[in-house]
């Protein structure tokens, strides 16, 4: 059992080593096979653990990692219910995306193809470390690892300067968040002297922390989460991250990595339940992010950008849930979101593949005849994310909105509005892309084709999951013995108080949510079924330019730092440090030139000088001693 658990992250790591080191000799087929095979093996092991359902001793100690004085940080894994759920999502969805990638990336040269799979495997390894670690330090290793892989994969086509800039942006923004995480870990070590979950989250240890400690630690951890999970104010990297290959966007920037923040907070729920202020901040930021990103998504024309902003928006939902104390609902939404967002991204990849790399939906249209499977699965994904029953998104979104309703009516209203916007922009995307008539070039029209089986099969599997995935968390409202997920996660996530809403109220809420989503879809249908290019209004332009947030950050943060840098360069460096260094050189040169006159070559004068100085020494000796 112990070895089996260690194998889960080890297998992708071995895959990374083989593909990374052998990238110049491995044929494409082998590289793809190794890449997908290792993840599949991890998935099978995870599935075995899940089916055995034996969580009696979740912590598996592998070896001592850091041992300094009284501080002992073991390299240990903790495989409990929450981790198992994430293991299944990561390796399961990850495997499907690996398979999809073998077809999607087939045009790459062999060396880059293997490099791609090496990065992807390294990512899976890091993500597994993140969710399996039994303490904050192991989690941090994974936390940094996924950031690195995200950077590597966004900048995968490193010859394009814009893409590398996007990669750098993602890395820097993640680093800002990581600093918060690191400070929180230091704070925990300083107060408790341990970082292991099962020691930190004991009642005795939590009682040692003052209210300030708890607020500080939770807030700093949340700063880390805003970076990794793309929340205000650090969300702008995620839309730019779409520079990477589409399967990467599906795996890293939709299904797994960006949910690391949610996992971390859900894992620390014992701590967060004590931090009322932080929870309010998380809920507000989550709701604000959800709404802001949803409004931006309304007017984006890049198929992947729409999905990226939708991801940011859905992550905002999850944070809204975390803030309201609905940890199970957040994890539930992570799961369903992983299914339908991976599906949507892979679907968009299939579309991009079909139209020869075009990403602007204004140049698409009428694709549903050429791409029937993609269209159907994309439609399922859209329905799921819009929250139409009985698709998976409905249940998780409903759980979140219900909790928000019980927590604060205003946040609930924001969530509801976002739900409407979500349905609207997703179906706008669907109708513009697949309905109407084709608006691309003739060459593209001839090239139109359905994707190969390696790409459509993952789409179909994910579509099935998007339909059925919600039933694990079906609320008690609809059926006896529901809430299976909450039951399953109870040993890890055990909220002190649960929400109780009258069934009649709940029915009204469900009806409202569904009705508003359906209405949004109808509006989108009427408006966009025959899309024609239109002149955007003032508000439209504002949204198209993403509220000018990037420009704002540029003006407020980047420009001043650049100005500071050029000031330091021109003033401190040039006229300060350089002047000093050059001055020393000049001084030596000058004094050398002056001293040269002493070296006249007149032997007599040397001797005279010698004698004079000797006499001077004697005189000094005699007179200064007194």
């Amino acid at each position: 059992m112990k070895n089996l658990i260690a194998l889960i992250p080890l297998l992708p790591f071995i895959g990374f080593l083989i593909n990374g080191l052998g990238r110049k000799v491995l044929p494409k087929g082998v590289a793809g096979l190794i890449g997908s095979g290792t993840v599949l093996a991890s998935f099978i092991i995870s599935l075995t653990i899940f089916l055995q359902g034996n969580y009696a001793a979740p912590v598996v100690h592998l070896f001592d990692f850091i041992s300094v004085g009284s501080l002992k940080i073991p390299f240990a894994f903790q495989v409990d219910q929450l981790t198992t759920l994430f293991l299944l999502i990561i390796t399961g969805v990850g495997f499907l995306i690996h398979v999809y990638s073998t077809a999607y990336m087939h045009e790459e040269a062999g060396q880059h193809f293997a490099r791609y799979f090496a990065y992807l495997n390294l990512f899976v390894f890091s993500m597994l470390l993140l969710v399996m670690g039994a303490n904050f330090v192991i989690m941090f290793i994974g936390w940094e690892g996924v950031g690195l892989c995200s950077y590597l994969l966004i900048g995968y086509w490193f010859k394009n300067v814009n893409y590398t800039a996007a990669a750098k942006k993602a890395f820097v923004m993640n680093r800002i968040g990581d600093l918060g995480f690191l400070l929180a870990v230091f704070w925990i070590i300083a107060k408790l002297g341990t970082v292991s979950y099962n020691e930190v989250f004991t009642a005795a240890n939590l009682a040692k922390l003052s209210a300030t400690d708890i607020t500080g630690i939770t807030l700093l951890l949340f700063v880390g989460a805003t970076g990794k999970s793309a929340q205000i104010p650090l969300y702008t990297w995620l839309p730019d991250a779409m520079a990477g290959p589409t399967p990467v966007s599906a795996l890293i920037h939709a299904a797994t990595m960006v949910t690391a923040g949610i996992y971390m907070i859900a894992r620390s729920n014992a701590l967060y339940q004590l931090a009322g202020t932080t929870n309010a901040i998380i809920a507000i930021i989550g709701a604000a992010t959800a709404l802001l990103a949803a409004t931006i998504a309304l007017r984006q024309n890049d198929i992947k950008k729409v999905l990226a902003y939708s991801t940011v928006s859905q992550l905002g939902y999850m944070f809204l849930a975390l803030g309201t104390g609905a940890y199970t609902a957040a994890v539930f939404h992570v799961m369903t979101h992983a299914f339908f967002k991976a599906l949507l991204f892979l679907g968009s990849g299939s579309v991009i593949h079909a139209v020869s790399g075009e990403q602007d939906i204004r140049n698409m249209g009428g694709l549903k005849k050429a791409l029937p499977i993609t269209y159907l699965t994309f439609l399922i994904g859209c329905i799921a994310i819009a929250g139409i029953p009985p698709f998976s998104g409905f249940f998780s979104k409903d759980a979140i909105l219900l909790n928000a309703f019980a927590y604060d009516k205003f946040l609930w209203a924001v969530g509801l509005l976002t739900a409407a916007l979500t349905a609207f922009y997703m179906f706008r995307l669907l109708f513009i892309t697949f309905n109407g008539s084709f608006r691309g070039t003739e060459a593209q029209r001839h090239h139109l084709h359905e994707s190969p089986i390696a790409m459509t099969l993952p789409l179909i599997i994910l579509a099935v999951l998007s339909i059925a995935g919600g039933f694990v968390g079906i609320p008690a409202l609809f059926t006896e013995g529901g809430e299976k997920l909450a039951e399953f996660l109870k040993p890890v996530i055990n909220p002190e108080h649960t929400v109780h809403v009258e069934h009649s109220t709940e029915w009204v809420l469900v009806g409202l949510t569904t009705g508003i989503a359906v209405a949004a879809i109808i509006v989108a249908f009427l408006r966009y079924r025959n899309y024609k290019a239109e002149q955007p209004s003032a508000v439209g332009r504002l949204l198209e330019n993403k509220w000018y947030v990037d420009e704002l950050y540029n003006g407020v943060v980047v420009k001043p730092i650049n100005a500071l840098g050029s000031f330091a360069n021109s003033f401190i460096e040039k006229s300060g440090i350089d002047a000093l260094v050059n001055g020393v050189g000049k001084l030596v040169n000058y004094s050398g030139r002056q001293l040269r006159w002493l070296q006249s070559g007149q032997v007599g004068s040397y001797v005279l000088l010698m004698v004079v100085s000797m006499v001077m020494f004697f005189v000094l000796q005699f007179f200064l001693r007194r």
């Binding site: 070559g601 007149q602 032997v603 007599g604 001797v607 005279l608 004698v611």
Partner: protein
């Protein structure tokens, strides 16, 4: 005889040597002045050595060879001086052969 006389004599010899080196242009004379300085030092060494020996004897702890180090050094200096003279004279001879003079200022040309 008091030590002062020795010191003054050797000081006088040394200063004569220095002045000779500084003022004369004939290399041979400069050379002789250098010898003079060396010998001034020798004289002083011998004088102090003798003084040391007598003082030790007066204090009652006389050993035969007390103060002999100074005299030993005199021989060292003589050997060094002899070696120096042999080299120096050879240089002077070469100088004379090349320039038909023994003017020391001619050596300034070595810097070119």
């Amino acid at each position: 005889m008091p030590i002062n006389y020795y010191i003054f004599l050797s000081l006088a010899l040394f200063i004569i040597g220095i002045i000779g080196v500084l003022t004369r242009r004939n290399v041979i004379i400069v050379f002789m002045c250098i010898e003079l300085m060396l010998n001034a030092v020798n004289l002083l060494l011998v004088a102090f050595s003798k003084m040391h020996h007598l003082a030790a004897a007066g204090a009652g702890n006389a050993v035969n060879n007390v103060g002999s180090e100074g005299q030993l050094f005199v021989f060292f200096i003589m050997v060094v001086a002899a070696a120096e003279v042999s080299v120096g004279l050879a240089i002077i001879v070469m100088l004379y052969r090349n320039t038909r003079s023994v003017d020391i200022n001619f050596l300034n040309r070595l810097k070119h």
